[in-house]
């Protein structure tokens, strides 16, 4: 296997509040290899977005961060603010959920892409502008020359997200982080934007972390999946391992709880209860109170993320009891 591009090691992110520290990310370790798409899946509060923000170092000063993030030989958490700024947008770029608020309403779309380019490369205005138009064309914005001179409000939601993607890839980053990139869009537009995102990712050869709650999106777009719950990684594996050979009760319950577009299921199998509080989390496995397989030990010890096969790991003390019947185990 190639040398990983990103190596996150025992990352912890805590937000101090009046009532104590909200531990949004606990002991998260993972790697992203060049050119691959890693999907990070979880419900709200699972820590998936906070992990991404930590990699970009886009968190408030008061945030408590532990562990280490190694990106292409650079110790991200050890950089000063100036050094980090030169990494951000050039080596690592981010695409946000809401293209409405991520673009500045008082500048033209072209201007904003030019600005993104010139933040890292000393190129003359006309060269940067030409490049901006090319980028818009690349992400499928029709009439890119004319559209570059328009303001964000003249763009529809889908077009705005395309512009965001153009801006993100303007410096050919090695890593793209897409945080719920299509959640705010209509279904038919979602499909278009995902297509663009995958195309540019393939063309530029950059790696991508795709953060989403939508398991359908994951099934079609990712190489590997990391499932998070209550600030921890619950399971990680190839896409088929997660969807067909899961060794984690949470992953299985999550997959069981979604209605199916193709099949007819009369009764859904919900996960009972609610996710635990991250401020004073209960001891033991975060999923134990909702888990149908929980045993008494689950509420005392936090299980380790144990390898199942090469690349497949699960955090569950009953991992050996979770064997897929008739599966490729």
């Amino acid at each position: 296997m190639t040398e990983p591009l990103l190596r996150v090691d025992s990352l912890g992110v805590g937000f101090p509040s009046k009532a104590g520290v909200v531990q949004a990310v606990t002991d998260v370790s993972f790697e992203v290899h060049p050119g691959e798409v890693l999907a990070v899946v979880g419900e709200s509060g699972s820590g998936k977005s906070v992990t991404a923000l930590a990699i970009m170092r886009l968190h408030a000063k008061s945030t408590i961060i532990t562990g280490s993030i190694d990106f292409d030989g650079i110790d991200i958490l050890g950089l000063d603010d100036d050094q980090m700024r030169s990494v951000r947008g050039r080596d690592i770029a981010m695409i946000f959920q809401d293209p409405m608020t991520a673009l500045n309403p008082v500048f033209t779309v072209g201007n904003q892409i030019v600005e993104a380019i010139q933040a890292h490369h000393k190129v003359p205005d006309d060269v940067a502008w030409k490049r901006a138009v090319e980028l818009l064309e690349m992400v499928g914005v029709p009439e890119p020359k004319r559209r570059a001179e328009q303001y964000p409000h003249e763009f529809s939601g889908g077009m705005r997200q395309r512009a965001m993607i153009a801006m993100a890839i303007s410096n050919e980053p090695k890593l793209l982080i897409a945080d719920e990139p299509t959640t705010a869009l209509d279904v038919t537009v979602q499909a278009q934007v995902m297509e663009v995102l995958r195309e540019v990712q393939r063309e530029t050869g950059s790696a991508m972390i795709l953060i989403t709650h939508d398991l359908g999106l994951v099934a079609g777009s990712a190489d590997r999946v990391q499932v998070m719950y209550a600030s921890r990684v619950m399971e990680r594996g190839s896409i088929d391992e997660i969807f067909y050979e899961s060794r984690n009760p949470y992953t299985r319950a999550l997959l069981d709880s979604i209605p199916d577009l193709g099949g007819v299921r009369e009764r859904l199998e919900p996960i009972p209860g609610n996710p635990p509080s991250l401020l004073n989390p209960p001891p033991g496995c975060g999923f134990a109170p909702r888990c149908s397989m929980a045993v008494s030990a689950c509420s005392t010890v936090v299980p380790e993320l144990v390898p199942v096969t090469d690349g497949h790991a699960s955090r569950c003390i009953r991992v050996d009891d979770l064997v897929p019947v008739g599966g490729a185990a």
Binding site: L215, R252, D256, G273, N274, S292, D320, V323, P324, G326
Partner: protein, 327 residues
């Protein structure tokens, strides 16, 4: 696994090992577990809204200081003259321009009146105007704002234009003209001030109501058959009391300052009565050699406005059910 067209989790996930602990998700299980979890987060004994608001208020240290401070000042203004041997308009030519002493706590003015008693009298007058204006302007402004915001359309247009019109009128000039032409009793001044100052509240309330009425809970009340009156009283108003609490205190401060300004300019209260503003005005000649005479009434103006603002802040937090009782 040979049927790729199966459901997403196409594989039958069997659970090997001891079967005893395996539980299925029957519906009743879902509910009981949910109850358990629901209870877990909500185990503390519930308290009434009033009690919670009171607790939140008590923990808001500045608000408490503001409230106690205001009560003390009011008490001082009301009670103090009882213990003084002087009346507020009693002249004592021999005791002109005395400094603070045991006999005259704040000293005396140019015609020998006791400044402590006069400050108390002026303070009462200022507070009275402030309170009257705050109440009148808030009630009227909130009503107009709520109506404009709730019904929208031409009603909103009329109210908004009226508000804009009044906002561009320079308050001080209108007040001066009014005072010169019609006199300046406390009641008259209060009414004119209120007529000028309700617009701020109306604007704020209108904006808030505009937001609130679009909220789904208002839609839900309509779906249940609630009348306009019920919706306004039960759903809209309680959601802007916090905003009003802040505005009413700001208004009280503004009214006191405006009245003081008028009085300072000689257009407010007429002698021998005093307000905090006239006391500053009367003493302005001695600002160089005897600054304490200007500073005392000025100090009370500042103190009242400050305390009132503290109070408003605390009220807003106390009336917000979402704010936690930690400060």
């Amino acid at each position: 696994m040979d049927q790729p067209t199966d459901r997403p989790t196409g594989v039958e996930h069997g659970i090997a090992g001891s079967g005893g602990e395996v539980r299925s998700f029957a519906y009743s299980d879902v509910l009981t577990s949910d109850e358990a979890v629901a209870l877990e987060g909500l185990s503390e004994k519930p308290k009434s809204f009033g009690r919670l608001a009171w607790e939140r208020f008590l923990r808001h240290r500045l608000a408490l200081i503001g409230a106690i401070g205001l009560v003390l000042i009011a008490l001082l203004f009301i009670v103090a003259p009882w213990f003084s041997d002087y009346a507020f308009d009693e002249r004592n030519v021999r005791d002109r321009l005395l400094g603070p002493s045991w006999d005259h706590w704040f000293g005396t003015d140019e015609i020998g009146r006791d400044l402590f008693v006069r400050t108390a009298q002026g303070g009462r007058y200022s507070l009275r105007i402030g309170l009257t204006v705050a109440v009148l302007a808030t009630v009227f402004g909130a009503l107009m704002g709520a109506i404009a915001g709730y019904f929208g359309g031409w009603i909103d247009n009329v109210v908004s234009q009226l508000v804009n019109l009044i906002l561009v009128v320079p308050a001080l000039i209108v007040l001066s003209v009014w005072a010169l032409k019609f006199g300046s009793s406390a009641n008259q001044l209060s009414i004119v001030l209120a007529a000028l100052l309700w617009t701020r509240i109306a604007r704020v309330v209108r904006g808030v109501v505009f937001q609130i009425k679009e909220q789904e809970f208002v839609m839900a009340a309509r779906a249940a058959g609630a009348s306009h009156g019920r919706i306004i009283v039960r759903h809209v108003m309680p959601n802007f009391v916090g905003v009003i609490a802040v505005e009413i205190t700001l208004l009280l401060g503004t009214a006191i300052v405006l009245e003081s300004t008028l009085s300072f300019l000689g257009l407010g209260v007429k002698p021998p009565n005093a307000s905090l503003g006239t006391l500053v005005a009367d003493a302005k000649g001695s600002i160089d050699n005897d600054p304490i005479r200007v500073l005392t009434p000025g100090f009370f103006i500042v103190l009242i406005v400050l305390f009132v603002n503290f109070l408003g802040d605390g009220l807003r937090d106390a009336l917000d059910p979402k704010s936690k009782a930690e400060h």
